[in-house]
């Protein structure tokens, strides 16, 4: 099991009802972790329209997670 430091933004923050949590998971990748969280929080966003940041850097969805990783799922951006 891995301890993952999760931070939520925008619609995901609203759906999760929190901005931050540390979660213990058996998900081997960010993709698997997002699937797990969709069951918990009913996230409406499809991963296909999002990116993921691991330790504050854009990363592949299939990158293996390591214990202590900081993970942010990035909803479609709307800055500017």
């Amino acid at each position: 099991m891995l301890n993952i430091d999760l931070q939520y933004f925008a619609q995901l923050q609203d759906a999760a009802g929190r901005a931050h949590e540390i979660r213990t998971t058996s998900a081997p990748t960010a993709a698997a972790l997002y699937d797990e969280l969709r069951d918990v929080y009913s996230f409406a966003l499809e991963p296909a329209c999002m990116r993921v940041a691991i330790n504050a850097a854009f990363s592949p969805w299939e990158q293996p997670l390591r214990d202590g990783d900081h993970v942010v799922f990035i909803p479609p951006v709307t800055g500017g």
Partner: protein, 135 residues
């Protein structure tokens, strides 16, 4: 990334190098209507560390792609009322072609890649995450 208003005169002054003959700036202002709905303000949130590195990467790309002397970008976070400046980009170049192109490149890339989200506050009191950029 700035959580309070930034003095534009100061941002501009940094770009004022003697090699530069053309300067192009873009500002994004909070607009009073969006999709026909009256807007009171916009709350900008950002994943700041990644927004900062991605913003710096975009400015570096602009310097490599276009013959510019200098470029800066600033983006606000927090609640902004109609008329406030959410984003400021300034580019100084020897000639205007590069200044315009690089300035346009930077704002386009910011809107596509930098993890910043806006929640519009409508005059009715309703708030809503802006779903995505339509233009």
């Amino acid at each position: 990334m700035a959580d309070a208003p930034v003095d534009i005169t100061t941002l501009r002054r940094v770009l004022l190098v003697p090699e530069a003959g053309g300067f192009c700036a873009f500002e994004g202002w909070v607009r009073q209507t969006n999709d026909g709905r009256a807007v009171a303000g916009i709350d900008y949130s950002a994943f700041v560390p990644l927004a900062r590195t991605e913003g710096q990467a975009i400015v570096q790309e602009a310097k490599q792609r276009f013959a510019i002397c200098h470029a800066t970008a600033m983006h606000r976070t927090g609640y902004l009322s109609v008329g406030e400046t959410a984003v400021w980009i300034g580019v100084a170049a020897a000639h205007r072609d590069a200044a315009f192109s690089a300035c346009r490149y930077i704002i386009d890339e910011i809107k596509q890649r930098v993890p910043i989200w806006k929640k519009e506050h409508y005059a009715t009191g309703v708030t809503e995450w802006v779903p995505c950029h339509t233009r």
